[in-house]
Symmetry: C2
Subunit: 427 residues, 2 copies
């Protein structure tokens, strides 16, 4: 491949013309392909169908420990559900709080409670402070940023590098500024980069000096067990690191089965230190009598056989790894060696993050949309929807079929090429 930089004007113009012809021919097909959200495909969700047969009219509607799931009770979830989530979150069962169907809701509610009542160690509710700021390693997860916007929390963008957030920057910020109350992290197979925080980064997050006594790490371990290959990324246990550093109240951990069983009908959980858990439960006891125990029981029964969760996740990987492979293969085929885009090849998670030349992402997404390919909005991976480089695009390859994906990625690459060349020509 030739780098676009090495082509002269007439070569670029010639190439652009050919690319545009190809683009027009795709456009005529009136496609409608969606790669905008990290959604499991139908075959993935069907892996969990047998779970629906484990809590029927014929079944015992009690847990092994004797809890009647037909009636009220159980503020923080079934003991068995806590045991299920404890190793995923890397904590003891007593440090787990089971939620409803959404870890996003648990994160939102955790911040809502901090705003209204403060957290352990807060002098006052965060909403009573002049200003509250969060550090947002970016590219990151748009729904985290949306929560900050909703609550009027000012977001500070820090680069997410290959081994995690730019810690020099993070440490400098939190050491000086007491209004910085938190940081968002998707530490494993991150959304959207697909990378995993290194041990050193985890240690630095646990140990760093913070001006705010009530600083909190929001550890959204959404893809803790979502491996694509047999070689897994290993993530250091941040709760242990925080305990060791004498900062055990610093971290809130979150996970769910949304991308394990059924998105929207899964089970979510969070974990934290005993003091945090005590405070949260006392506030939670006013909000709910408890989450859906029947659905917890379905999950517990589905995964009660040793190793069944790992087997189940392997089946997910078998379905989606070919899609990740195909995407990377096409990136290499159409964009490789041209000096117009860079990407990582994640070994887990739900996304591939690609960086175009600066100032191209918005146009690429718009052009793809015109040809029937919906991508996550450019900028969505940055606070306030504003990518300072206008270069990051999140690809969610899991939902479309392999055939649809192939077409969608081809069109996408075409759009990257067209916009890049146009930029070069205009320069």
């Amino acid at each position: 491949m030739t780098e676009v930089n090495q082509l002269n004007k007439s070569e670029l113009e010639e190439q652009l013309e050919q690319l545009k012809k190809k683009y027009e021919s795709y456009k005529e097909k009136e496609l409608a392909l969606d790669m905008s959200r990290g959604k499991p495909c139908p075959e993935q969700v069907d892996l969990s169908r047998p779970m629906l047969d484990l809590v029927t009219s014929e079944d015992l509607l009690k847990t092994d420990s004797g809890v009647d799931v037909r009636n009220y009770g159980g503020l923080d979830g079934l003991a068995e559900a806590k045991e299920f989530f404890a190793p995923i979150l890397g904590v003891a069962p007593a440090e787990v709080i089971i939620g409803g169907n959404s870890s996003l809701t648990m994160m939102h509610d955790t911040i809502a409670r901090a705003m209204l009542f403060g957290v352990v160690d807060s002098e006052k509710p965060w909403s009573k402070l002049e200003k509250v700021k969060f550090i947002c390693p970016s590219p990151g997860y748009d729904r985290h940023f949306a929560i900050c916007e909703l609550f009027g929390i000012e977001m500070i963008t820090v680069d997410l590098l290959e081994d995690g957030p730019d810690m020099d920057k993070v440490e400098e910020l939190v050491k000086e500024d007491a209004t910085i109350k938190g940081i968002w992290c998707v530490p494993k197979y991150s959304n959207p980069m697909g990378n995993t925080f290194s041990d050193e980064i985890v240690n630095r997050l646990a140990k760093m000096e913070t001006k705010a006594n009530d600083f909190r790490i929001f550890w959204d371990n959404a893809y803790a067990i979502h491996h694509l290959t047999l070689v897994h990324d290993k993530l250091k246990n941040i709760y242990d690191a925080c305990v060791e550093a004498g900062n055990e109240n610093r971290v809130f951990l979150f996970a769910s089965t949304s991308k394990v069983t059924f998105p929207g009908a899964g089970v979510a959980a969070m974990a934290a230190s005993p003091d945090n858990v005590t405070k949260i439960k006392s506030e939670l006891s006013i909000q709910t009598i408890g989450p859906d125990k029947m659905n917890q029981l379905r999950h517990v029964r589905f995964f009660e056989k040793e190793g069944s969760l790992e087997e189940h996740m392997k089946k997910h990987a078998e379905l989606i790894k070919p899609k990740f492979d195909k995407t990377i293969e096409l990136f290499e085929k159409f964009l490789g060696g041209k000096g117009i885009a860079t990407w990582l090849s994640p070994v887990g998670g739900y996304f591939i993050s690609i960086d175009t030349l600066d100032g191209c992402a918005k146009e690429v997404v718009a052009l793809a949309k015109e040809a029937g390919v919906t991508l996550t909005g450019a900028g969505a991976t940055y606070p306030y929807g504003k990518d300072p480089y206008d270069s990051n695009i999140r690809i969610a390859p899991t939902f479309p079929s392999l055939d649809e994906l192939e077409v969608a990625i081809e069109i996408f690459c075409l759009c990257v090429e067209i916009v890049s060349i146009e930029k070069k020509l205009a320069a």
Copy 2:
């Protein structure tokens, strides 16, 4: 029966001695009977077992309108779930928002949002105001009061009379005081009195002049369809009344299937005016991708046959009406004509409310507890747990078996008699 007032000291002492003997003999039995919460009994929850067979691995996991319940989506619930709740709430389906498993959570979250963001017509978030007050018709539901306490909302107690709140008092208060932002109502088969608001009360609530522009009625219609007899209490439609009065934004309505299908694994819903719904949905979209659609589908399929909900509720009534009847029968037998307690005989709902002589309720509950009968804490039916008369006790007769209930009510009546006579003797 002889009124206690008409007995002389030695007659009272003699009676007291006999009652205490009887009490001691009960105490020796070391019973453990719980009538503290409004919980359906095992036979009631088993009525809904067949629901668990309607969403299995063999079933189509799509709604009739084509929504895939296996995956993400549906912020405000399935169209079919909204259609189910619309007539229960007395609104159009478009005015319904489906929630998770708990209407209590929807109420809590509605107030949390009001505190954080205000409601339609608010000048600022309620948490930014010096003071926020709510009117709490009492006796009322302890969990409503707990929400106010959590958010630091000052509660003003107003008497709940037989046809609803003391509206003269309510109108006077809300007309003058802009810090009064809301009122809690359980308008039908109320918790704990079991009475239903009259049409006139509903009209006055809808029409009354409020100093606060953003005043809200929290209309917890928890027992909308929970009739005990064929003659139902009729509740006037407050949403229509508010619309007619030009106050369509005034009311938030809530309901759930917690006491229809499975408590803790049911479906909750709320309703409000289009403007309210638009604002709520925009805030909700940051908190969740949507509630559990599989459980909604279970419910929709279970009740899709015309009249099946009514039939189902009749089966509930068949199971619990004998318990209400037995309670009233024993009240009449042991307490009737003695001038020491008054009660209503509700034709729906989950509770019987009994008023002892002033200053007796706490002692009665404590004495019953000592004999193994757990009642809702005395005072719980009033804001801050403080019954100004110390007279109201909430009886929840649904959970125990008829035999257990009979013993529990006998012990309870015994305790009322003992405490009343002791009061008389000490006077």
